[in-house]
Amino acid sequence: MLTAGCVALSCLTFVLGYTLGRVARRRTRIETRWNDQATFATLHLAAMAAPALRTGLTRDSARKAVRHLHALLGTHAVAITSTDVALAWDGPCAEEVLGYARATLASGRAQVFAGEPYGAVVVPLAVDGTIVGALAVFDEELSAGLVRTVTEVGRWVSGQLELAELDSSRRRALEAEMRALRAQISPHFVYNALTTIASFVRTDPNRARELLLDFADFARYALSKTHDFTTLADELSCVDRYLLLERARFGDKLRFSLQVAPEVLPVPVPFLCLQPLVENAIKHGMRDRGGIGEVRVVARDAGPEAHITVEDDGTGMDPERARRVLDDDPTREGSGIGLANVDLRMRQIYGDGYGLVVETALGAGTRVRLRVPKAQLGHM
């Protein structure tokens, strides 16, 4: 009992100490290593406002940024508007902000309003030459210095918003790349499957019909554009259907075995991460030996991860060649596209530690290892 108490206490103390230590360290750094207080304060406030602005101009981001901008400028009040609505303000100024901003939004030029008791400086916020909003600053006294400062701040905010735009187009580009990487049914496979089915049409029409339906099921899954992730169970059933088609071609010479811990079946996995590996194993393991051989898929439960291996007992390959295949740019056409594709996607999604490991040697078969974390944080 006492020990448990001590353990709990010591753990909590550790956390507390760690947090306090970090806070303290941050404090001392602020005070000792920077002499120029004003520069530091300005940069610090700008840095605090930047992350919010980097998410684009929304009510939420404006609300977060405007507080820091207010502190930065030290004026009576600061407000940010979009083209048609006042997004956020800090200090006593209300919706009438938009009245001041209208002229700026229309003309795209900075405007200065002298007035009682407060004057206003309004500067435009522009992304790629388009006005997206305005920054309005209110103060008792409008000096030339203040106007200049506000103009520069407005330019800085515009810069951040432009970066946000860049971020989101980069994201869209990545997404497009991901989708392109995702579904690449090999044209050879389509050709082979259809030829095999055609060969059964006369001799065994029922079989041909079954296979055609299998092909339809497979294509329906592989070409569906709805999701980036699927469950291991669905991925395995895709492999299953793929194998039915390959088996129709190779007959009993192709043996396949599957061993799965039922606990990992609901694990979310990247779409089509397994079928290319099986296809690869059949292609390199079997075809060089006239289609004789065994492919083994094992999915293990390893705590917070699922470990999947795809193994063939084929001819294997030179490790150097395997390395070249993995280093290949998967967006280029060529052999081994499946492996490099899956490898790249795994690394992009889960991090560099989650790439494929290919164990191979000449004449020793090949085994491809894949690790998938069970927790799906952030990425949908």
Binding site: A4, D217, G303, P373
Partner: protein, 560 residues
Amino acid sequence: MTVAVLSWTAFVVLLGISVSAARPRRYSAPAQLQAARRAVRPWRNGAAISSEFTSAAVCLGLAGLSSASGGWHPAGVAGGFVIVLALVVAPLRRSRTYTLPDFAEWRLGSVPLRCLTTMLSLVIGMAFLVAQLHAAGVVVRLLTGMPAWAGWAALAAAGVAIALAGGTGSVTSVQASQYWLKLVIFVGVGVVLWAVWWHHLPSGDVTAFVAGLPDGLWEGAVGTSYGAADPSAAPAHAPAHAPAHAPAHAPAHAPAPAHAHAPDLAPAPQGGGDGMAGLLPGALMVLLACALGTMGLPHVIVRLHVALDGHEARRSIVAAQAMLALFCVVPPLYGVLSAVVARGGVMDEIVLLLPARMLPGPAGDLLTGLLAAGAFVAFLATACGVLSAVGGAISACVSRATGASVFRGAVLAVALTALALTMATDPSGSMPLMMLGFSLSAATLCPLLLLGIWWRRLTDAGVLAGAVAGGGVTAALVVCEQTGLNLGVPTSHPASVAVPLAFAVMVVISLVTPGRVPGGVGRMMARMHLPEPSERAGGHRSSPGADRSPSGRVPHTDDY
């Protein structure tokens, strides 16, 4: 020694049965592939959850029988399952975060919070693990006369072996089959013992027994009051226990009086009806801690992710609760009987010695062996579940930092730490340790889960402050209790102060720091609360392999 051999044999047989139920299967024929992809169904998952819970249920139930505050724990845990079902299960499963630290990081976007949650899971899991090891030590010492560490080592080794070797087979199946084995053994042996007792009892004594029964149970000093209330039972069975096991439990009984009171969960005044009003707050607090603490237990949460989706996870929890309810018959079954038959000593020790006292000879030995094996399997189930859950949480933390998989190492390290802690603690503390686990979970992880799932404005600063406050108060009160500083109900039941405090701090600090509400809360809420698209119903495949008749296929009409 016969008992030792018998119980060992029984244990090995039980383990063999349950492991063979889950041996890795390799499928190769096309028709079998469908079977290989069969996920864990709710009933089986539920059986696994309750299997990992039985040792807590039985031990706490038995401990409660002999404690003054009464055995409210099973009822509290059942209530806890209802709360988990209503508020936690489906959203947590749908969040697709595997452990609580994962959940904390995903929901609040804070890595320090992840570390704190990992540590809390570790402490709670450790409390459970140490309690299991101690219990195994007691069983081994009582039945074989071997030193307690033999039991610890055996349990830790078996737990690590199953947690690690389970990779390709199904640990769920191991646990689920163990549930049924345990139920059959505990209820079966109990019924046999009751039958024996009934058979030996002159009919007139039954009414005397029933009349005398309750007082003793309320008083807590189980053995002595029963000896007085039911004089006929004691002489009938007294000779039974003396020759057969005198050497084995002579050492066990010596420290018994100390045990009976040291782990007492409620220091409230003991006695008849007058003391009962004083017991009320204690009983309520036990119920509260169990009801709110259940949701934070690491081995329960991990099991949710074995279910296919939110619906199935819900069904698993209902199944688990139903099966656990079935198991709640066990503590009274033995508790009442041993109150009648045995005298003195700690309740869980008496239970193990009960068959030998009532049935001298090989029959008694056999029953004792079965009972011991069943108890050992129960400890093993809990230990294995906690080991893999806590080991998983730690290794997930490491892998997110380094990318390497250290699951095996983490499990081993957790087991070794638990062994070291077991050596450093006293066996009498194992029940309070489990209660401490529940209280700590109720005061830290429960508010994190409930607020994280249902409240949009929760912030990482709020959770950090709330968890530190709740955990700190719990720890401080435990220290107070250990040093003899009595502050009334809070000292014996830390949850009474810590839980409301943790909730209050979490809410207030979150409201004070509105700027720290993580981005994308709306999306997280949608992910947690919207039911998964019921893809499985239509599926990518129109029909399973079995029914592939020409007319069995319905063409898909939805576009893709």
